[in-house]
Amino acid sequence: MANLDIKLKVDASGLSCPLPILKATQGIKTVESGELVEVIATDPGSVKDFDAWAKATGNALVEQDSADGKFRFVLRRK
């Protein structure tokens, strides 16, 4: 895990589909282009969903890892 300059953290733990994606979208709109947003989710479906969301929107999925049933996503605003 590199030392990333995270601008905003979004905790979507416990939330079901599609809320992690919606919360992430609301969050990323509050940062500037090129800045990073970290999202934590517990919904296993969010792994594929964030990939699809990144492909569709053009925002980059910089990092993705998981530990203890938590999924972590680092997104860079386009």
């Binding site: 416990g14 939330l15 079901s16 589909c17 599609p18 809320l19 994606i21 919606l22 992430a24 979208t25 609301q26 699809a52 969301w53 990144a54 492909k55 569709a56 929107t57 053009g58 980059a60 386009k78």
Partner: protein
Amino acid sequence: MTAAAADKPKKLVIIDYSGELEKTWATMILASTAGAMEMETTVFVTFWGLQTFVKDKKRITGENWMQKMMSFMQRPGASHRKLSKMNFMGMGPWMMFKLAKKYNVAKPKDLLEMAMAMGVQFLPCQMTMDMFGLKREDLIEGMGEPVGAATALQLMTEADSTLFI
């Protein structure tokens, strides 16, 4: 940035025809997520679907006795949708909302508000408004101008994907 995202935005049209809770839920999940995915999303709201967009606090709508009777028999509003199966006088929806709360699933009304905030356009069907005697002030804030079938079809022919729910 991927090649797909650099292209013009994908377009989605949803025809929101049904007013049942489970179908309304599907419409709102897909509309809000499409908004989050920066798809240009239009929801054409017609027939029973339009009942979802009547303000929750409205009890009776319509001008003549038949329209009023219709709204009395099935209460309009996003928070008052019934299940098509296992409604059991409201027990079914009550349990659905209990489960939704337990598992942190957003309610249709919340998803609708998020979809609107993300730029999803909801267009009421003029004919349905006329038939049910619905006025613009009966409907929630934030909807587009009422349109007809020709507008819906025009949007559908230009869309990348169309759903009839």
